[in-house]
Symmetry: C2
Subunit: 426 residues, 2 copies
C-alpha cells in the first residue's frame, strides 16, 4: 500500500508555521488531555492538535477497520496492535482530511470546534504504556569514547562489541514525557582511593542523547523475528533522554550492569513519528568493520538521516546548544537490534520501547553526553549564559530536538525537555 501521506507536494488548510516539525507530511501520534479533561489519542499539524477520538466518532475514518473506541484511550498500545496496514490507512486518511483541496471538515465549523485544539489547550501524556524497555549501546563513537576514558585507548571496544548489538533491560516505570521534572538522585558512591562507599546526592548527573523506537506485537515466546521482517514491527520513534548518574553507575554496575544510575528517570518526546513518515530519509549505515553473523546481516538502507541536538538552559538564562549529532551514526540499526533481541525467542509486544544508546558522532561537538563532551569533567563546556558545565546542575533544563529535511520537507520530533530539580525532600 503506498504511503500517500508522505506526498511532498501536499499543502494543508491548517495554518502551519514555516519550518515547523509537523507539516502535513509528518502526522505523528500522541496522547493528550484536552481542555474538557478528556484523554484522547491525537495527531498534530503545525501548532494545531487534532483529536482523533472525536474525528473517528464523527465518521471521518469510515471504511477503515477500527473499533469505535480505538482512539479514546490513554495509550496508543491497542492502535499499535492493529498493525502497520492500519497505521498507514489512518495516516493516509488524515492527510486527505487536512489536504488544502479538501474542505469537508474545514467548512464544518461545528466539527472543527470539536476536533481542533491549540497547543495551550492540551497537555501531552506518555504516548504508550511501556511494557518492557530495552536500551542498546549501538554507537561505535560512544562505546569507543567510554572505553578510552575508563579502560584502554588502544583496546577501547570490548571484544563482543563488533559482533553483538549490546543491550540491557531498563526500567519502564520511570519513563516520563517531556515537561515532567526530575529530582537529582541520591545513592551510593565510592570516592576514589577509598574502600567504603558514602551516601549522598549524585554529583555527576548526565543526559544521554538517544532515540527510541516503539514496537507492535511481534512474536510469541520462542519465535525469533527474522531481520528482513523487523521493520514491520516498528511503529515509530521518539527522542529519548536516558538520564544517568555517573558516580552511582561507576560503583554499582559490575557485574550485572547499570541499575539505580539509570532508573530514576528516562524522558521521551510525546509525539511518536512513524517509521512510514521517515521513509524518505533512509540512508546507508556504517559498513561493518568485522563480518556479522547471518542473523544480523541485512539488505538495503536501514539507517535514517535524523539531525539531533542537545541544549542546556540554566535557570532564567538563554539555552546553549552543546551537541549536534545524527541518528545515522549508529553502527547497529533498529532491524539488527530487533533481530538480535528476539533471536533467543524473547517476546516483543505492542508499546515496548527500545533505546538506541547514546548517539555520539565522530567530532567532539557531536558527543551525546556530558561525560564525553566534558571528557569526564576535564574540559568544562562553556555556555553562552550561566557559566560552564562539567555535568548537569540543579535547575538546568536539558532540551533535545531532532528533525529530518529533504526536498523542502522537514519532518521533526519536537522536543524532549526536562528540568533537573534538587534532591527530593519530604
Amino acid at each position: 500500500m503506498p504511503i500517500t501521506a508522505n506526498n511532498p507536494n501536499r499543502k494543508t488548510w491548517i495554518d502551519t508555521p514555516t519550518n515547523t516539525d509537523f507539516p502535513i507530511q509528518n502526522i505523528p501520534f500522541g496522547v493528550f488531555l484536552t481542555r474538557d479533561d478528556v484523554i484522547t489519542i491525537g495527531t498534530r499539524i503545525g501548532d494545531t492538535a487534532i483529536d482523533l477520538g472525536a474525528l473517528h466518532q464523527l465518521g471521518y475514518f469510515e471504511g477503515i477497520p477500527l473499533t469505535d473506541d480505538i482512539f479514546l484511550q490513554d495509550s496508543l498500545n491497542d492502535f499499535i496492535s492493529d498493525g502497520k496496514k492500519t497505521w498507514r490507512l489512518v495516516r493516509n486518511r488524515i492527510a486527505e482530511i487536512f489536504d488544502a483541496k479538501n474542505n469537508t471538515l474545514k467548512k464544518n465549523k461545528e466539527h472543527c470546534k470539536i476536533v481542533l485544539f491549540t497547543l495551550d489547550e492540551i497537555e501531552m501524556q506518555l504516548p504508550v504504556t511501556v511494557g518492557d524497555y530495552t536500551d542498546f549501546y549501538s554507537s561505535i563513537e560512544h562505546a569507543t569514547n567510554v572505553g578510552t576514558m575508563f579502560r584502554d585507548p588502544d583496546n577501547a571496544l570490548l571484544p563482543n562489541w563488533l559482533h553483538i548489538p549490546v543491550g540491557y533491560h531498563g526500567r519502564s516505570s520511570s519513563i516520563i514525557p517531556s515537561g515532567i521534572p526530575v529530582h537529582r538522585p541520591q545513592g551510593q558512591k565510592l570516592i576514589n582511593g577509598t574502600e567504603k562507599p558514602i551516601f549522598g546526592p549524585s554529583r555527576l548527573v548526565d543526559f544521554e542523547l538517544e532515540m527510541a523506537f516503539i514496537t507492535t506485537d511481534a512474536n510469541l515466546l520462542g519465535e525469533p523475528i527474522p531481520i528482513e521482517e523487523a521493520e514491520d514491527y516498528i511503529f515509530g520513534l521518539v527522542l529519548f533522554n536516558d538520564w544517568s548518574a555517573r558516580d552511582i553507575q561507576k560503583w554499582e554496575y559490575v557485574p550485572l550492569g547499570p541499575f539505580l544510575a539509570k532508573n530514576f528517570a528516562s524522558s521521551i518526546s510525546p509525539w511518536i513519528v512513524t517509521l512510514d513518515a521517515l521513509e524518505p530519509y533512509r540512508v546507508a549505515g556504517p559498513k561493518p568493520i568485522k563480518e556479522q553473523l547471518p542473523y544480523l546481516q541485512y539488505e538495503g538502507d536501514k539507517s535514517f538521516d535524523i539531525h539531533l541536538e542537545v541544549a542546556i538552559q540554566p535557570e532564567k538564562a538563554k539555552e546553549t546548544v552543546v551537541c549536534r549529532s545524527n541518528f545515522k551514526h549508529m553502527y547497529w540499526n533498529m532491524s539488527q537490534q530487533l533481530a538480535h533481541h528476539t533471536i533467543n525467542g524473547c517476546p516483543v509486544n505492542s508499546g515496548d520501547m527500545m533505546g538506541s544508546g547514546t548517539i555520539s558522532g565522530p567530532t567532539p561537538d557531536s558527543f551525546g553526553s556530558m561525560l564525553e563532551l566534558s571528557w569526564r569533567g576535564e574540559k568544562p563546556v562553556q555556555l553562552d549564559e550561566g557559566g560552564s558545565r562539567k555535568f548537569i546542575e540543579d535547575n538546568d533544563t536539558v532540551i533535545m530536538r531532532g528533525h529530518c529535511e529533504k526536498d523542502g520537507v522537514r519532518i521533526g520530533f519536537g522536543e524532549v525537555s526536562t528540568k533537573l530539580l534538587p534532591i527530593f525532600k519530604k
Copy 2:
C-alpha cells in the same frame, strides 16, 4: 488489624489432604480459567480451587470495601492496588467462610457448585501483569561460588557486594506460569581460545532457584521508600526459576549485564502466598559482615524460613531432587532490596516483581543452579533415573517446590514446573 486467617487451630470443612501446601491457614491468590472459560481471581484450600469472583457476586465479601469486578479480572494488579488492609480483610473473611464451624456456604449446594472447582477443572494463569521485573543477586553463597569459579577464590566477592543489594532489570514479557514449556534458546557463543563467536543452540541451559516478591503501588517518581515501611508494599511471594543460558551469558554480559542469556524465559509458581501468611515463619537474617549504610539498616526479623528444593525429571523417568536450600540464607532481605531499589526515587507499582537471585546455601547440595551443583560441569550430578547432568537437557522438566512448617502448620507454594523443549523450529 490482627491476621485472624493465620489461626493455627482453625479447621476447614473443605476436604484437605494431609501435608498439603494449602491448608486453610495459607489462602494464596491466583488467576485461573474455569471450566466455563471464565477468567477469575481465586484462592485454593487443599485441592479445591475457589472462585473469588463468584463468591463476591454472591455477597460473601459484604462489608469489605471492594469494587464489584475486583476479582473478575485476568490479573491481581487492581486487587493488589487496594492495599494491605484490604488483602488482610479478604483473607480473614475467606478463613471464616471455610471454617469448619461455619456452614453458611457449606450447606448452600447451589453456591458451592458455582464457587468450588477441582484442580483439573481449572487452568492456572500468570497471577499478575508484571510491569517491571528486577532480579537481585542477594545470596552470598551464590555470589561467592560464581566469583570463585570465574574470578579469584581469594577475592570471590566483588568490592560492592557487601554494600549494595546488587540488582538489575529483567524482561517482563517472558515471565510465564508453571506448566508452560520453554524452547532451548539459540544465540552467540565464544568457544574458548577463539576470537570469533559462533551461532547455535545454547549448550549450557541452567535453572536458577529463586523466590520473587510481588509489590503494590509504593511510591511516586522521586520518592524513596524508607526501609521500615518496605514490607507494607509487599503483597506476597512465588517460586521463581530464572532460566539462564551460561554460554550466551558469558559472551554477552560485559559491560551491561545479562540480556539474551536470561530473557528467553522466567517461570513462576501460579499461587502468590501472601506476606501475611508467612508471618509465623520470620527468622533473623545473616549478620552483616560489613557495616551497611543507614538506609539499609533494619530492626527485627526480616528473613523467612522457607524450605526449597529443585528436582530434575528426565522424559519418561522419575524425578531426582538435586538441590535443597532455604530462603533464609539470603544475605540481603526483601526490605533492603526495596529500600535500595527506590532510594533514587525509582517508582514501584502494583504487580512489579523482584527476584531474590539464586538461593544457594552453605553446603554443596544446597547450591541453587547446575552451574554450581556441577561446578561448571566438572562434577556431573547423578540422577536416580536418566543418567547424569552437567546442565539441563532437552525434554528435562525442572520442578521447584517450597514450604514453611511450624507448630503443625505447613504453608507451601506448590511448584513451578517447566519442561525444556528442543530449539524452536518454524
